[in-house]
Each structure stands twice: as C-alpha cells, then as structure tokens.
Symmetry: C2
Subunit: 200 residues, 2 copies
DNA sequence: GTGCAATTTTGACACTGTCAAGATAGGTTT
DNA sequence: AAACCTATCTTGACAGTGTCAAAATTGCAC
C-alpha cells in the first residue's frame, strides 16, 4: 500500500512466497511443501504463485540460490579476518558444518538431489553455485601457499576432495545417519587433521 | 506354477516387485517410481503390492537393505584377500566409489534422505545398516593396527570421518554436482592420501 | 465339495503440480 | 475523465499420486 515497488493485488507476492516457503521447509522439510498449501498460507489462490515462479522447481532454485549467496559471503567474511590462516581455516570448517546443520533444508536444496538430479537447476542457480565454488578454490590456492592445505595436487583437486569431506560429514548428519551431535565437534577436529596434514 | 514356495495367483509377487522396482529405479530414478506404475508393469492391480509391502516406504527399505548386504559382502571379500593391507584399503576405496556410482539409486536409498529423514527406515534396515557399519569400524581398527589408517583417534572416530569423506565424494557425483568422471580416479587417489597420512 | 485364509481387485478419497480461460484491477495514454 | 493495456489473480479442470475399505477370487486343507 505504501512501498515504492510495484505492488499490485498482494504487495509483494514473490517475496512472501519465498519467505513462507523457507519457513515451511525449515520446519517441516521440503517434502511437505506443496505449492497449494504454500499459496494458502500466503493467502492467495492455488495457482497465483505460478505467475511469480515458473513452477515448483523454480521456486526451490531461488531458495537454493539465496543459500549460495549466504555461504559465499560467509566465506569472504572469514577470509577477511586478521588471524593466522590455519585458525581461519579451522574456523571455516566449523562454520561450514554449523551452517549446514542449522540450515539443513536449504543446504539440501543447494547440493542435494532434489534440484541437481531429480529437478532442473536454473541457470542462475548454476551460476551462483559455480561462483561460490570458484571462490572456494581460490581460497584453497591461498591456503596451499600458506602451507595450511597440502601441495600434493592442484588447487582444484585439493579443493574438490576437502570439500567432499566436509560435504560428506554434513550429509551424514543432515540425512539423520549420524545423529549424535555431541560427537560433531570431535569429528570436525579429526577431519581437520586429515585435511591439513600437509604431507598428503 | 511349479515352484515349491507358496505361490498363489501371481507366482512370487514379492520378488517380482522388488526386481521391477530395482530396474525402474536404476533406469529412471526413484522419483519416477510409483506404486501404481510398478503394479502395472508387474501385471497386477494398483493395490496388490500392498499385501506384500506395507507401503512404498517399506518397499524402498527392502531395496536399501539388499544394498547393505551387497556392500557388506564386498567388504568381507576384499578383507579376505592376501595382499598388503594398504593395497587392500586402496582397492576398497576404489570399489566403494565404483559401487556407489554404478548403483547410484540404491546407494541413495541406503544413505539418502528419502528413507532416513523423509521416510521411516524399517527396523531390519536399521539393523542391516548398523551391521555393515560395525563391520567397517572393525576393519578400521585392524587397519589402524597395521598403520594404514591414523592412530590419532578411536576406531569409531577414524571410521566415521574416513567414511564421511568417501560418502561425500560419492554424493557429489551421484547428485550430479561433480560430473566429470574422468577426474574421479584422480580425486580418489588424492582422497586416499588424505585418509592414509598416518600422522593425522 | 466345503470352508478358510491368502491374495487380488474395484471403488473411493484426499492430495499433488500445473495448464487454460476468465476475472480484476493498477497504471498509462488519451 | 474514459479507455485501454497488461500484470496479477482466481476458478475450473485434468492427470497423476499413495493408500484405505470392502468385495471378489482363488489355492489349499479338510
């Protein structure tokens, strides 16, 4: 009623949809998000969302994309810290896992099957993921120069494998295979030892 | 018509369902497996499968369970080989990834969200998974004694983290995030270096 | 052959994603 | 101010899903 943005009948349905969807997903999991219920909770008719997102896949892509931007800025924020590189890396690993567990449903959208295999990742989602991955690889290269990560291979390879390790740990918790979060810190520490042994 | 087993109208619907389901899943992905289509391809009415499996979840659990048994016997087969422990471990890592990529849909059922989070893992599935995990941890302990894997932590922790690493790599390929299978062998080699550096 | 129990089918319900066609209403042009 | 256009939203509809309840079928033991 008073914003500057074009705001027809609803106000800003696009944003409302994203917000509500994120909430539902967070609280009840992505599989219990239906376009119809979503429309209902936002207060519009079943098919109204389809004028803002091509389909369900597109909506989820948008959510995932936001996740990538968050994760990327998390990385940049940490990189900017004035601390020994080793400490920053350790901190990043902890932060990565923490983010993954805290925003587990978003994390799943970002990297999970739903979008990348069962669904169709949008171009902008692919771009966002590629960009954060590149940021990561660049940082890996720096970390290699600073002898934090092993030099036994290219930045790409080291980046791929170390990330895979973090990702694997995250997934085991997210999917409910590892449950005991007491153990998480312990595992993370052990994982860091694996990743940082510069002889490897 | 001629088997010993009790075989009423169909023959052995239970087995037929599992086989067809496995095939459909392998070729088209788990999301395009519907109970109705499955019943149709097997040649029975929509609800016939429900007398053999409580629900779709139960059917998928059965498939996953089979996967665990396969994986476990794969482990035992390798363990029995008369070779240096390091070589056997390397071989196992390669075999693990190969299995995961070859039977990617089964692998996803075994460890993915579908059953463990979105669904309800059956008791026998939980038992099977626990059992293979235990077999893994036991082997890790041996590998630690043989200085193949690091002694910096308990068998459980080392087992958890090394498995997480393998799992992460597998997932990235399965979910279509890493696609270039040319690189796989390279990554696996690098991963092995990470995992085996006995100083960590 | 009769009866029982395992097995299968038919019918039904509530839910899903999404398309097509119509209604509405805000902003722009005249 | 009126007319128009276009973005937005709604209603109706269709095909598909998992699965329950009740009825039908069938093989086996007696």
């Amino acid at each position: 009623m008073s914003t500057l943005k074009t705001q027809y009948h609803h106000g800003d349905l696009t944003k409302s949809l994203l917000q509500s969807a994120a909430l539902i997903i967070k609280e009840q999991g992505v599989e219990s998000l239906s376009m119809r219920k979503l429309a209902d909770t936002v207060g519009v008719s079943r098919t109204a969302p389809y004028h803002h997102f091509k389909d369900k896949n597109a909506l989820l892509c948008a959510l995932a994309e936001k996740g990538f931007h968050e994760q990327e800025s998390m990385l940049f924020a940490l990189k900017a810290e004035q601390k020994p590189a080793t400490d920053v890396f350790k901190q990043y690993v902890h932060a990565y896992l923490e983010y993954a567990l805290q925003h587990n449903e978003t994390y799943d959208l970002m990297y999970g099957r739903t979008l990348w295999k069962a669904g169709t990742p949008s171009d902008s989602l692919k771009a966002a993921s590629k960009q954060t991955f590149k940021a990561w690889i660049d940082w890996v290269e720096e970390l290699q120069e600073q002898k934090v990560l092993p030099n036994s291979n290219t930045p790409l390879r080291i980046g791929q494998t170390t990330w895979a390790s973090l990702h694997g740990l995250a997934r085991l918790f997210i999917d409910g295979i590892y449950l005991d979060k007491e153990d998480l810190a312990d595992m993370v520490e052990q994982m860091i030892k694996n990743l940082c042994s510069t002889s490897a």
